[in-house]
Structures are given as C-alpha cells and as structure tokens.
C-alpha cells in the first residue's frame, strides 16, 4: 500500500450509488420489457 | 485435406490482386500510426512491434472476410458440404490457407516497419517464428468467425467485433515477443511468451475445428 488514503467518502458514495442505480435501472428495464413481451404475445393469440 | 488446401491456395493465387490491396492497406496503416505518434524516432522504434501487429490485425479482418466471400457469392458452401468431406477438413483447409496469407502479409510488413520506425533486427528466424505463431492465433478463430459472419448482414463490423477481444492474448504475446526481438531481452522473457502463444494456438486450432461442423450444419 502506498500509505494512508484520507477522505474518499465521495468515492464510496459514488460507487454505491452507481451500483444501486445499475441494479435498479436494469431491473426495471427487465420488468418493463417482460410486460411488453407478454402483452404482445397475448395480442398475437 | 490436401485437396481442400490446394483448392484454397489456387483460389488465393487467382485473386492475388486482393493480396496486394490488403498489403497496401496494412502498409498505409503503419504510415498512419507514425503520423498519429509524431516523428520522434525513439518513440517510434519503441512501439514498432505494437504498430506492426495492429496493422496486421486490421488487415487480417479483410483477408478473413474474403476467405468465405467466394462461397457466399456462389452459394458454394452448401455444395461443398454435400460432398462426402468432413466439414472439419474444409475448416482446416481454409484456416491454413488464411494463415499462409497472413504469414506472407506479416513478412511483407516487416521491411515497412524497419524503414518507417528504424526497427531493424538481425534475429530474422526468431522474428519469422513469432510471425508464424502469431498469425496462426489470428487465423484459427478468425476463420471460424468468418464462416459465421459471412452469412449475416453487417458482416464487416461483426467479424472484428467478435475477433478482437478474443485474440487479446495472442496480440499481447506477439507484440511482446516482437518487441523483445527488436529491442533486446535482458530478462529472458522470450520463452515464457513463446509458451503462451503456442498454448493459445494449440487450444484454438483444436477447439475451433471441433466446433466448426456445428457452425455450418443446416
């Protein structure tokens, strides 16, 4: 290690925020796409 | 298999104007790299190996795409497969033919590299070996992906898109080895990288051959 790293809360918050954002956005996109695909399949019938 | 290889080589000989065009493309790529970096002789010499292999890699997409062009034009692939020939033989015939073309291209680009980047070396046999091993690493997966993408729209973008991430180890090894040959090898890393490159070639020449008949089955 190159020594003590002071501060850095901003980066921690950024990392957690990015992680949460990716999970939420991807999850929501999946649920939306699934709903669309289901309704389209129901229409075709 | 010799017959398959002969057919490929005959085809390539007939279209040898193609080779000239690809060589000019590769050489101009090397020229463009030096413009991008600037006329600093030291820097150019240090990165000469990288430039040469990048130029070779970019040119290889043209060569590889061409190798299935004839089959696509004349729907000859289906005809080929109807013959009582193992598809694997067709694969190895094409892969070897592509490899030979790339080796030739590599050899042709060496003088360009020597002149533009002042990157000469006396260890020519080692350099030749590295070029042969490195291009083999490009040719095996490249031929497989060329077979796939030749039947698809957007084939020109798909082939490099699929190939480039895959051949990273071969590229790293080839550039490193070439660099060690040109600039010197104080720590004796040559054999380790040779082993890596050879292992890569062995794995992919067998794996791609194994998977090829699934790729072309109807």
């Amino acid at each position: 290690m190159t020594g003590n790293v002071t501060g850095g809360w901003n980066f921690v918050v950024a990392a957690y925020a990015v992680t949460a954002a990716v999970f939420v956005l991807y999850g929501v996109s999946l649920i939306t796409r699934l709903r669309d695909a289901r309704s389209r399949a129901a229409e075709e019938r | 298999m010799i017959a398959a290889l002969r057919k490929e080589l005959l085809l390539q000989w007939r279209t040898r104007a193609q080779f000239m065009a690809v060589f000019v493309f590769g050489a101009s790529a090397l020229l463009l790299f030096s413009f991008a970096v600037g006329p600093n002789a030291e820097i150019l010499r240090q990165f000469s190996a990288g430039f040469m292999w990048l130029g070779l890699l970019l040119s290889s997409t043209l060569t590889l795409a061409e190798s299935f062009h004839a089959e696509m034009e004349n729907r000859a692939l289906e005809g080929l497969l109807l013959l009582p020939v193992n598809p694997r033989t067709i694969y190895y015939g094409k892969a070897i033919a592509n490899w030979l073309q790339l080796v030739l291209l590599g050899f042709a680009l060496v003088p360009v590299m020597v002149i533009l980047y002042d990157a000469g070396t006396t260890k020519l046999p080692q350099l030749a070996l590295v070029i042969m091993l490195g291009t083999a690493g490009l040719s095996a997966p490249g031929t497989l992906y060329a077979a796939m993408t030749s039947q698809v729209r957007s084939r020109q973008t798909l082939l490099p898109l699929l190939l480039f991430p895959l051949i990273v180890p071969a590229l790293l090894a080839s550039v490193k080895l070439t660099s060690l040959i040109i600039l010197g090898d104080p720590m004796g890393q040559l054999s380790a990288w040779m082993k890596l490159l050879t292992a890569f070639d062995a794995i992919y020449w067998s794996l791609c051959g194994l998977l090829f008949d699934r790729v072309v089955e109807e």
Partner: protein, 299 residues
Amino acid sequence: MSTTKSLFVRRYVPGLVLLAIGAYFGFVVALAEFNNINLGFGLATGLQAAIAAIAAVAGTISFLIVDDVETSAKGPNILLVAGIICFLIGSYIGLFVAPPEQHMGEVQRIMYVHVPTAWNALLAMTVAFASAVVFLFKSDWKWDAVMEGSIEVGVVFAFLLCAQGSIWAKPTWNVWWDWDPRLTTTAVLLFAFLGILALRRFVEDPVKRGIWSSVATIIAYVDVPIVYFSVKWWNSLHQTQSSPGTVSKQFYLPLRANAIGILFLMTAFIMLRARISALRLKQELAPPPLVEAQLGEVV
C-alpha cells in the same frame, strides 16, 4: 392439486436446503463466535467459508435449473425482493457499521460491493458457458433463453465492475484505470460478450442464432483464463502497486451479506431475461398466423 404442490416442493426443497446450509456456515457460525459460542463442528474457518459459498451458489443456481421459463415471474420476483433486502442489509453494515480500514480509510468500503459484484459477474459468465454447452448437446430452447439472459446480465455486471474499479482506482492510485489484471480481463470479457449479443441481434434464424452464439460463448469463456494470465505477465514489470486485495477477516460480514444479495439479484435477472427471450422464441418458432388461418386445425 396436491400433486402439483408436491412437485413444487420437490423442485425447490433441495435449493432451500442448500441455502440453509450456506446461511448456517456463512452467518450463524460467525455471529455465534462473537458471543464465544462454537457452532462450527470443529471445522477450520476456511473450510466453513468454502462450504458456505458452494452451498449458497449451488442452492441459488438450482432454482435457475428447475425454473420453467414459460411460467409466470413469481419465482424470480421473490428472489428479487430477497436480493434487495440482503443487499440493503449488507450495504448498511458496510457503510455505517464496519470500521474504516487501516491503510485505505473509507475507500475500503467500496470493496464490500466490488468484490461480490466480481464473483457474481464471473458466475454469470459461467452460467452462460454451461448453458451454451447444454444447448449444443440437448437443443432444448430453454437453455438458449437462459444463455441469452446470462450473457446480458454478465455484460451489465462486467460494466458495473469496470465502473466500480475506476471509482476505486482514482482515490487510491490517482488514475482512473490501472491495468489491474482482473479488471482488464473484465474489460476484455465485456467486449467479447457484447460482441456475442450483437451477433444474436443480427442473426434471424433462431436455430443458427442459438448454435452460433453458443459456439462463440464457449470460445470466449475458454479465453478468460488465458487473457488473465497474459495480462498479468504483460503488466508484471510495471505493476508496483498491489491490486484491490482481499478483505481481512473482521470485515467479511457485510461482504457475505452483499454477496448473497447480489447472487439473488443476478439469478432473478437471468430468470426474468430468459422469460423475455423465451417469449420471443415462441413467436419465431410458431407457424405464421396466415398459414394457420388457411389450413385451420390441420397445422
């Protein structure tokens, strides 16, 4: 009705049992140790950790294996909620309860999300590889759907990994990218699997699409260790700094909680994405409606 219920139980019980074993060795034993109660059957801590990890992964993946991608999304939705809860717990502990590390200070907390994401990204790629192999052998469309799902999830996780790695690298080494072998391999993997997704998008025949992308997935996955070693050697002369290291023993609780949470999320994502793929496949493989109208019930 009782037979379907027993079928339901039979399918999910093995997974739940495995998860229980994982939870026991992963959390219960550790928490008991804080109160000096020994529940570990005399096994070494390393072995306990290994059992916990294998049991948790096997249990969750078993849900994926028994999942029928044609049914409703109740299963994945349950997993999704469980994953969110575990991830929130783990992140809370990691952010506010765990003490700052000796050398790296607060930045160490990034490891509590980065390391679990890394494990799960690799797991997603492995699921893709396994699905590809199974699909080539069995030609069961479920596995083509699962493969497409796990490739896309793997791409999302790999991208996330690169973002987290960059955010970690800046305060630590003052550069946005430090060519760490693990992270660089992830970047190469990201591009490789993006290429496979592009391949799937451009091939219209479902059979060709399935076979070609399976072949490409196998080739790309086999490359992963080779890329890792080549980048490691390539970098070894310049890498004077150590890479994001493993977490020391006192900090494993938030790590494990997040690992389970993200594992649940990953599996739920794959199951949902596989359902989307299965619906599209059904449309493509079904006879065209005009033919049905003309020929009626004969088709």
